[in-house]
Symmetry: C2
Subunit: 397 residues, 2 copies
């Protein structure tokens, strides 16, 4: 699978010394050649990194030039000095591409509560700006530069025809821990060479995030730094104007974001299964979301999946404490398409066959149906393993 860089973008990742591992990029620049548009969606945590506060004030924007990302340090809970450092990062990145601070966005991910090494950030921005390019190597170095505990690179790409011409959407993301629904310590940058107004870009990114990044969970801990950006260079000269073209672009954007979102719990720290949960038949999508969030965050549900145990009692009882009103006598559950529980009662099924199907596949599919209405949601989550606990109780992490 190739991930062509959309027209009008150049990017680079470099190692500037934020992380001690010198083999690993820790600073990424992504720049447009001319002013483009940028939209953002952010963490819903009340405690946020400086970058989130400042990006919120700058997006949506129709005068975007560059985003600078550092990994290894979240610049969160760092007070007024952290605010100053973040503004300085934006200024340095803006200058480096011939723009200014107001045209630059910042993302920082890594440890909370430490000040950024600004001398290294500055030399990193200088080095990266000298390496900006639009080829595969530049793209991969940029993706590596935004990662932390990720075990693989998260990339997705599609082209879509608009007004008879092809435009490109290519995106990267990072994230493996501190992942709760409503974003996570995840960062995502979606680049497109389509021409989008700032307000349309914001509307489309918000729609895509609702179906993707807001539906994933590793352990349910919402981070201080979650950011997803949609950047449009306009370099294709093609804009979605008709409702058909808008729908085509939206659908492709959704698909790219869902592909990336699923990769995050798939790479969840220590994960041995990706849980795909469909909650259907709810009165509202909000109800479905609350149930999906509660079920996928239950450590007892997660550990049952880890153990390839079709333990429906844990799943049904987790739905029961989601704070959503439903009739337990109408609840139905399938695991890997096998009916396990129907209309509030367990049914006879081949338990060994279901357990074997769980053991044999990385993805485990659950469907919980409520018979209360037409609303539904799809969530993706990690299971919970000994490796997750070892990793996160290791003092050094």
């Amino acid at each position: 699978m190739t991930h062509p860089v959309p027209k009008g973008f150049r990017l680079a990742g470099v190692h500037c010394g934020i992380k001690s591992n010198t083999a690993k990029e820790d600073l990424t620049l992504i720049a447009t050649e001319k002013a483009g548009t940028a939209a953002g969606v952010y963490t819903q945590n009340l405690v946020v990194a400086a970058s989130v506060t400042q990006n919120r004030a700058k997006t949506p924007s129709d005068n975007f030039r560059v985003v600078v990302v550092n990994s290894g340090n979240a610049n969160a809970c760092t007070g007024t000095r952290g605010d100053r450092d973040c503004r300085e990062m934006a200024r340095l990145a803006g200058d480096a591409v011939g723009g200014n601070e107001s045209q630059a966005l910042v993302m920082s991910t890594g440890i909370i509560g430490h000040f950024l090494p600004m001398d290294r950030i500055e030399s990193g921005i200088t080095a990266a700006s000298a390496k900006l390019a639009a080829n595969d190597e530049a793209f991969d170095s940029a993706v590596r530069g935004i990662t932390t505990t990720d075990k693989f690179l998260k990339k997705a790409s599609r082209s879509v025809r608009i007004a008879g011409q092809s435009v490109q959407i290519t995106a990267m993301a990072k994230g493996a821990g501190m992942i709760g629904p409503n974003m996570a310590t995840m960062l995502c940058v979606v680049m497109t060479d389509a021409e989008l107004t700032a307000s349309l870009a914001q509307e489309m990114l918000t729609h895509a995030a609702e179906l993707s990044f807001n539906c994933i969970s590793v352990e349910g801990h919402t981070s201080t730094s979650d950011t997803a950006l949609l950047l449009a260079s306009g370099a294709s000269g093609v804009a979605p104007i008709s409702s058909t073209d808008k729908a085509a672009f939206q659908q492709t954007l959704d698909s790219v974001c869902i592909e990336l979102a699923k990769l995050i719990p798939s790479d969840g720290e220590g994960a041995t299964h990706l849980i795909t949960l469909d909650v259907t038949g709810c009165a509202t999508r909000g109800d479905a979301r609350r149930i999906a969030k509660t079920v996928t965050e239950s450590p007892l549900v997660k550990t049952a999946i880890t153990g390839n145990d079709p333990n429906w009692g844990r799943i049904v009882s987790a739905a029961g404490y989601a704070g959503v009103s439903f009739d337990p006598a109408k609840v139905t559950l399938t695991i890997n398409d096998t009916l396990i529980y129907e209309a509030g009662m367990p049914v006879t099924y081949d338990e060994k066959q279901v357990s074997d199907s769980m053991r044999g596949s990385f993805e485990v599919r659950l469907e919980l149906a409520f018979g209360e209405g037409d609303a539904s949601i799809r969530f993706w989550a990690s299971d919970l393993t000994v490796e997750y606990v070892n990793f996160n109780s290791d003092y050094s992490t």
Copy 2:
């Protein structure tokens, strides 16, 4: 520490064959000699065991005679047959002590979704009723009969002077997993020989539960079966009438319930630390509760405590996604009484000393202060260990 059985009660635990381990009691009867009063508080899960539904309809009661408890099978998600079995259990227990079904309460704990072996239950009730006694041995066998994965027996006892005379409060509880705030797979029976009206008993138990059983968490999974009962035999002939006596009794009841409640996360599956969290300075107790629940349920907070890591970033960021409005610039955190974070900023402290203090003690004390008002809450929770995950991902559990 002794746990005298309050006057007017007799009890017994027997093995009747619900659990395969023949050395272990699995059925308990607790009876009053004459009709007493009973109050109950129950799980807030929407999916509940038959016993919860039937007890709710019977309490508060001024015509109580007996509670029958079985462990090894929760009789939850068992439909109309489960309802019938539960009523039959009440009828058998009522008959066995010379009363009737309406005077009998039922508690069941164990696996979800299996029918009760009613023949064994019946012979167990017969055997237990023949052994009813008021001595230490009877008390301990009754406590053993309500346990499941508990590693130790949970008992508490106090006497309190009312109207110049002493009354006794003695209680038992069980619980080690599927423990979320707002009750858990926990059962508790508080016996007293004080004379209480049904409404006063209910009011006092509700008050005590708010400070105790509703403030504990192992993994935050609210169960289908949680039940705490306050049983008053009246056999002392002493009733709390004056406001002073009522306050003295309430305070003693609170203290018994808090002592038992803390034992549950202390025995949380695989727990290596008891986390005691004080959330202070909130606008409302509801706000304090939401923050305490969110912080103590975060796997990242729990694993940091497991690793003796004063990782304040995880604690402060968990508060930030509790859904409570506060000013992050006013948040202060202490760990084991050492100031770690003040007014929204980390402070300099001896990290090794704090980590050593965590390593050296089973209990780790956190205080999060918000400066938004006068409301507070105290929560108790388990940490999260490899043993918890191993235990709960073991297919056979």
